[in-house]
C-alpha cells in the first residue's frame, strides 16, 4: 500500500504542477525554444559500483559523448553515450570483463537558485556483452556466473545527475558531471555513481 500511496501523491503533485502553469503563464512557445541552442561534449571519468554491486565488478573508467539542447527556457534536453569496460571483482572463469555502452536521455533543470548548477534526470539503456574466452555454448546459463553476459544483454533504468560547470569561455564550457544511476536488474537493482569531467562546445 505504501507504493500506492506514493503514486497517489505523485498524481496529486503532478496535478498541482500542471495546474500551477496556465497556458498563458508567459512561457515562450516551446517550439520556438526547442533546439534553439545545441551543444556537444566529450567526457571522461570513473564509475563506482554501489551496494552489493561492489562484490560484482570493480570501479571502471568511462569515456563518452554528449549532446545538450534547449528544450524549454529553463530546461535542456540531454543525450549521453558512454563506454566502459568492467572487470569482475573476483575471478570469473573464462570471463575477462564486460563491455558496456550506456545511452542516457533526460532533462537538465537550470534552477535559478543554484545557477549555474543544473539538476538532471532521465532514463538509461545499458547494453552489455562479456569479453569471454571459448565458445559461449560451453556456458550453462542456469549455473555459470556471468553466463548471460556472453550474449547481448540490455537493461533499462533511470539516472539523476548534477551538472556542475567549472568555467566558460566563449563557446566552450568545462565542468563536472556527477551522476547516480540505477539499472532495473534482478535479483537486486544495480546502483552506480559516476564522476567525470566534460568539455562542451556550443554548435549553434
Amino acid at each position: 500500500m505504501a507504493k500506492v500511496k506514493a503514486l497517489i501523491l505523485l498524481f496529486l503533485g503532478l496535478a498541482v504542477c500542471a495546474l500551477a502553469q496556465s497556458e498563458s503563464s508567459g512561457f515562450a512557445s516551446a517550439d520556438s525554444i526547442a533546439f534553439s541552442k545545441f551543444y556537444i561534449s566529450i567526457e571522461g571519468g570513473e564509475k563506482y559500483p554501489f551496494g552489493d554491486l561492489i562484490d560484482a565488478v570493480d570501479d571502471a573508467f568511462y569515456v563518452g559523448l554528449g549532446a545538450r539542447y534547449a528544450y524549454w527556457e529553463d530546461f535542456d534536453g540531454i543525450i549521453l553515450f558512454q563506454y566502459s569496460y568492467f572487470e569482475p571483482h573476483r575471478e570469473i572463469p573464462r570471463i575477462n570483463g564486460v563491455h558496456e555502452v550506456s545511452g542516457k536521455l533526460g532533462l537538465d533543470y537550470r534552477w535559478r537558485l543554484i545557477s549555474p548548477i543544473a539538476l538532471g534526470v532521465g532514463f538509461i539503456c545499458n547494453w552489455t556483452r562479456a569479453d569471454y574466452e571459448g565458445d559461449k555454448k560451453q556456458f550453462d546459463f542456469k549455473k555459470d556466473a556471468g553466463a548471460t553476459l556472453t550474449d547481448n544483454e540490455t537493461e533499462f533504468g533511470w539516472f539523476a545527475r548534477l551538472n556542475l560547470p567549472i568555467f566558460t569561455l566563449d563557446d566552450y564550457r568545462a565542468g563536472l558531471n556527477v551522476l547516480w544511476e540505477q539499472v532495473w536488474t534482478l535479483p537486486e537493482r544495480s546502483n552506480m555513481l559516476s564522476v567525470g569531467l566534460y568539455v562542451e562546445r556550443r554548435i549553434w
Binding site: L7, A18, A30, V57, A145, L186, E188
Partner: protein, 570 residues
C-alpha cells in the same frame, strides 16, 4: 479515459453524445500496436502473449471476449485461430521513421557475477523499426520490422523443441511473433491503395491450449479503397511444423474482404446502408493442425442504421452464409440530448450460430478432432441506461445494464493431458444451454483543464449468475481506475493510469481452475515532443506495482516492462 472511449466504441453502436461529452486526450502508449489491452482498466483483460489474450469489457454483456466476436469493423484485423487480432498489424503507419526497443525488466547484468542460486529467468526485449516516406505525387514506400519477445520465456523450452530454427527474424528468444514487410502505396483523394509483402513467424494459441507455430513466407496484402468501396486481398503461404513429431504441413490461403461504406451523403440520410463480403480460401497439404470446412468460407454482410431523429437510432448488422449466421443490433433512445450532457437508453442484441463465422472449423490434436463449432445458436440481450453531465471542467457519468445470454459458446472438455508444465485439453466447442444473467454498473468522473490536464476516475462492478458456470473465463467482479494526462508547456506529455481489478478465473483449460489474482497496476508514459520538427521521444513503463503472474493458461508471466520509442514524422 481511453478505456471509456473504447468501451463506448466497442460495446455499443456509438452513442455519439456520450462520446462527444468525454474529454479527448492521449493515454499510456501500448508496447506495440495491438497490445493496448495490456493497459486496459475497464474489465477483464488477461494477457498470455501478444498473440493471445482475453479481452472483455465490463458491461459488454455475454461471456465471450471482444476479440472472439467477428464484426465488419475488424475486417482489416488478423484472424489468429478464432480471434480477430489487431496484432501483428499490417496497417501502413503515417509518414514517419521510427525505432522502438524495450525489455522485460529484471535481467541480471552484473548481478550475474554474484547470483549463483535462484537465478531469475531471462528477460526478453522488444524491437521495432520502420519508415514510411512522404508522398511523392501520391506515391509512397514503407517498410517495417517488428517483433515482441516479451511473454516468450516460460514456454521457450517447450516451443523450441517443435521448430527447427529460432523461428524469428532476429535473435534467439523464440518470440511469440516476428514480422517484416515492405511495400508501396498511392494516395490521391478518392483513391488509396497499397501493396505490402513480407515474412512472418507467429505462435497461435488454439482450443487445445497448445501453441502452433506458423511461418508465413510470403505474406502479401493489397488494399484498394476507391471512394466508399474498400477492398482487401491477402495471400499467405504458411508452413506448419512439429519437429518433435517429424510433421510438416503447408497452407496456401487467400483471404480478404469487399466493403461498401455508407458515404457522406448517405450518412446525412435517415437510412444508412453499408454492405460487403468477407472471404477465405485455403489449400492444405501435409499436416496442418486446423481445417476449414469445404476449404472456403464466404460471408456476405449488411449494416443498417435508421435514425429518423436525433433522439432515436437503430443499428443492425446481419451476416449469413450456408453454415452460419450472425446478427448484432441495437436500438438507442436519447430523450435528453443537449450538447454537453445526455441520457441514453438502449437495447442491444447479439445472436448467431458462431461468434466468428470466418474461423477454421476443426482442430487436430494428438489423434483427436476438436470441433470448433457447436450446434444451435447463442442469443444475448442487453438493456442499458447511461447518463453524462458536464459542469464547467467537470464531467460526471454513469451506466448500468442488465444482460442475459442463452447458448453461450463454451468448451466441453473430454480430458486433460499434461506435458512438462503445460496442460492441454481434448473435447469440442459446445454451448451452455441455459440462461446466464449479468448486471453491471459503472460511474466515472472526469476533470480537465484546457489542453494541459485531464483526469478520469472510473469504477465498475458486474455480477454474473446462472444455473451453469462452465464459462471459459469468469470475469472480474469489479475494477477501479484513475488515469491522468498532462501536456506540460505544450511539449511534454505525461500519461499514466493506476487501477485495480478483482480476481478472474479460467475454468476450462486445466483440471483445477486458474485464478488470476486481482491486483493494482500502474502504467506511465513520458514523452518529449518537438512538434515543429515532428520529433517525439517516448518512454513507457508498463505493469508497475502488479505481481508478475501468469494470466492465461500456458501463457507467460506478465512482467514489468520498459519501452522507448523515437519517432520522426514527415
Amino acid at each position: 479515459m481511453r478505456s471509456f472511449l473504447n468501451k463506448v466504441l466497442g460495446s455499443f453502436s456509438v452513442p455519439s453524445l456520450l462520446l462527444a461529452a468525454t474529454v479527448s486526450h492521449a493515454a499510456v502508449d501500448a508496447e506495440m500496436e495491438g497490445m493496448e489491452v495490456d493497459s486496459r482498466d475497464d474489465g477483464t483483460f488477461l494477457v498470455g502473449s501478444p498473440t493471445f489474450y482475453y479481452d472483455r469489457i465490463l458491461g459488454a454483456g455475454g461471456l465471450h471476449s471482444e476479440s472472439e466476436l467477428w464484426s465488419p469493423e475488424k475486417l482489416r484485423q488478423r484472424l489468429l485461430f478464432n480471434r480477430m487480432s489487431p496484432l501483428p498489424s499490417w496497417n501502413p503507419l503515417p509518414p514517419s521513421v521510427w525505432l522502438k526497443t524495450g525489455n522485460e525488466l529484471g535481467d541480471l547484468i552484473y548481478q550475474d557475477f554474484i547470483t549463483l542460486e535462484d537465478r531469475p529467468s531471462n528477460r526478453t526485449p522488444i524491437l521495432e523499426g520502420g519508415f514510411r516516406s512522404p508522398s511523392f505525387k501520391g506515391f509512397w514506400v514503407t517498410g517495417r520490422a517488428f517483433q515482441d519477445d516479451h511473454f516468450s520465456t516460460r514456454s521457450f523450452s517447450y516451443r523450441k523443441k517443435i521448430v527447427d530454427d529460432e523461428f524469428a527474424l532476429f535473435g534467439e528468444n523464440y518470440p511469440m511473433f516476428s514480422s517484416m514487410y515492405a511495400g508501396f502505396g498511392y494516395d490521391a483523394g478518392q483513391v488509396n491503395a497499397s501493396v505490402l509483402a513480407g515474412e512472418e513467424y507467429i505462435w497461435i494459441f488454439s482450443e487445445s491450449s497448445r501453441w502452433i507455430p506458423v511461418h508465413y513466407k510470403p505474406r502479401v496484402e493489397t488494399r484498394i479503397d476507391v471512394g466508399n468501396l474498400e477492398t482487401t486481398v491477402a495471400y499467405e503461404a504458411a508452413d506448419y511444423q512439429n519437429k518433435k513429431k517429424k510433421e510438416t504441413g503447408e497452407r496456401k490461403e487467400w483471404n480478404g474482404s469487399l466493403r461498401y461504406r455508407c458515404g457522406e451523403a448517405c450518412r446525412r440520410g435517415m437510412l444508412q446502408l453499408s454492405a460487403g463480403l468477407a472471404f477465405r480460401k485455403v489449400d492444405d497439404s501435409g499436416v496442418v493442425y486446423t481445417r476449414l470446412e469445404d476449404d472456403r468460407v464466404l460471408l456476405p454482410f449488411m449494416e443498417l442504421k435508421f435514425e429518423p431523429a436525433k433522439i432515436f437510432a437503430a443499428h443492425a448488422m446481419f451476416a449469413i452464409n450456408d453454415r452460419d449466421w450472425l446478427v448484432q443490433d441495437s436500438i438507442e433512445f436519447r430523450p435528453v440530448a443537449p450538447s454537453k450532457s445526455g441520457i441514453t437508453l438502449g437495447v442491444k442484441n447479439v445472436s448467431g450460430t458462431r461468434l466468428n463465422p470466418m474461423a477454421d472449423t476443426e482442430e487436430f490434436f494428438d489423434g483427436d478432432t476438436i470441433s470448433l463449432t457447436a450446434d444451435g445458436q447463442m442469443n444475448l440481450v442487453q438493456g442499458y441506461a447511461g447518463f453524462t453531465d458536464t459542469l464547467g471542467n467537470l464531467e460526471l457519468g454513469g451506466r448500468g445494464s442488465f444482460w442475459a445470454e442463452y447458448g453461450a459458446e463454451t468448451f466441453d472438455v473430454d480430458k486433460y493431458v499434461t506435458d512438462e508444465d503445460f496442460v492441454y485439453r481434448h473435447g469440442d466447442v459446445g454451448r451452455i444451454n441455459s440462461w446466464i444473467k449479468g448486471v453491471t454498473g459503472e460511474l466515472w468522473l472526469g476533470v480537465w483543464y484546457q489542453k494541459m490536464f485531464a483526469f478520469k476516475a472510473l469504477s465498475g462492478f458486474e455480477r454474473v449468475d446462472g444455473k451453469e458456470s462452465r464459462f471459459e473465463v469468469t470475469p472480474v467482479e469489479y475494477f477501479t481506475s484513475f488515469s491522468a494526462d498532462w501536456l506540460l508547456r505544450r511539449s511534454f506529455r505525461i500519461s499514466h493510469s493506476l487501477r485495480y481489478r478483482s480476481d478472474a478465473k479460467w475454468n476450462l483449460r486445466s483440471r483445477d481452475p486458474l485464478t488470476v489474482k486481482g491486483d493494482w497496476f500502474w502504467d506511465a508514459t513520458l514523452e518529449q515532443q518537438f512538434p515543429l520538427y515532428g520529433l517525439y521521444l517516448t518512454g513507457t513503463l508498463l505493469h508497475v506495482l502488479g505481481d508478475e503472474i501468469i494470466e492465461t493458461p500456458n501463457g507467460a508471466h506478465n512482467r514489468l516492462r520498459f519501452v522507448c520509442t523515437v519517432r520522426k514524422t514527415f
